[in-house]
Symmetry: C3
């Protein structure tokens, strides 16, 4: 249990950093940085808890999440003024965060006794919704909707986790296998630039030559 | 009851198609198409259930909604690659979806024993919020806020339904009359290009000549 | 209790006006004006109630809020056609609305027995989230994230209120002191153009000369 809690907070730190950096690109002020960090780090889990009816949401019951996310945002705000974060490290950390949040989300949904389809959806939502809120608030079309394999890695991992949990209820190895599956597919997508096909309706295709 | 369920799923299919097509215009990838379809088809009902406190939300209790919306998105993704959807058919189907969702939303709110004002608002919210979420996620100002009579048709139908339900509690004809009212006003608005007055504050009007 | 209720409705009126005016700038139609007014006036309290699990949300239990916000939007729609609102009055009224909503939000959270950190966050969320939803729906990056001291005034006031409530539980003066603190800092920021430092990561700073 303590390991899961520590990993969960690690995910919060990573996503708070990505939220802060997105705020930096838009030249938001200190408050905007903290808001985007909180929304990115806590948004996915909030939507999961609200739709499941697990209220009050997790960060109301345990303010540690809010404090960790806000402290990370403040630290990022200070650190990037004098030190450039290496992009590669951040992308790998982000992949870890995605994997952890997905599995924790799916696990919480399964504990609430919902159908496996919903558990998979809740896992993915926990992993990617925070990033979507971050993008909407900073005036972008959510990157997740058009980027290389990202949510897809989360989706596959959630399916792996739900399937294993159905076959071997409660086995600790289920989470490990799912996390590894998400990390492997996400990092492979990053390394080789893999992506899903995009939507090209007939009429747009016809207009491509214009 | 079965008729209502079938109509509800028909509304899900129609809105999932409009969500998928919006994703197509923005060249989102396959995952983005499914997310926009789910948000459009299930968003309005989700906000209704959450604000009413009817938790967990409807699609957590009955995953059929999720499966139907996702399958519709995948089918749309494949079909539009080789076949052009006729715009007129889609607009009429969308009007049907709007009418069905509005009445189902108002009905669910009245069953939760809220005041008629709130039931009208919940009906309209169920009908139009999914489309608003779709537009925000795809980087547009929600069309519904500036388009020809759309939400207004939903609003009028919801008022008709709430009034009839107050006069004749539980009569099946209430829903039929309200659906017809929404369809008639929406299709009339489409045919004759009717619209509401727009907001023109004094100062903007003065600048119109520039 | 009656004073608080009256102040709360005053806040609803003020925020409904700012929502209507934002809709006017985007030339939305009458329906769009009402939707933006409702979202601005009721959005913050809705997110607070949902995350706290205080369901159904406040405006479902008491439709007066919805009616007041909608009537304000309609009145604004009519009035600005023939009469120009003085900007200064509106900014001061908006500062009052921010102060009232923040304290009411923090108070409601403390009554739900959450930790002080969460009560502060809930106060700020009640004060500023409505404006953020307004900006996202009208296609802007939320102003609050980049403007002069606004959310920061709300944050400080919420901290003052939570601290006083911890020291002197239930004292009526707590709310008065917190409202005055928010008003004073917000109006001072408006008068002297105070603002928080913005985020300037190393790499962007390097590109400033371009």
């Amino acid at each position: 249990m303590t390991t899961i809690y520590a990993l969960d907070l690690f995910g919060v730190v990573v996503f708070a950093i990505t939220g802060s950096l997105a705020a930096g690109k838009k030249r938001l002020d200190l408050f905007g940085v903290v808001v985007l960090a909180l929304a990115t780090a806590l948004g996915g889990g909030t939507i999961r808890d609200v739709t499941l009816g697990a209220l009050p949401v997790f960060w109301v019951s345990d303010p540690t999440y809010v404090i960790v996310a806000a402290a990370t945002a403040l630290a990022t705000f200070v650190i990037v003024r004098c030190w450039r974060l290496p992009g590669g490290v951040l992308l790998v950390a982000d992949a870890f965060g995605l994997a952890i949040f997905t599995v924790i989300g799916a696990r919480k949904a399964l504990e609430a006794d919902v159908s496996p389809v919903i558990a998979v959806l809740m896992g993915m939502m926990t992993g990617v919704a925070g990033g979507m809120i971050r993008d909407v608030l900073s005036g972008e079309i959510p990157l997740i909707l058009r980027r290389e394999i990202y949510a897809t890695a989360s989706l596959c991992g959630a399916i792996v986790f739900a399937t294993l949990s159905w076959g071997f209820p409660g086995a600790a190895a289920n989470a490990v296998v799912a996390v590894v599956a998400i990390l492997a597919s996400r990092l492979a997508a990053l390394k080789w630039g893999l992506s899903l096909p995009t939507f090209s309706p007939r009429e747009s295709a016809d207009r491509d030559g214009d």
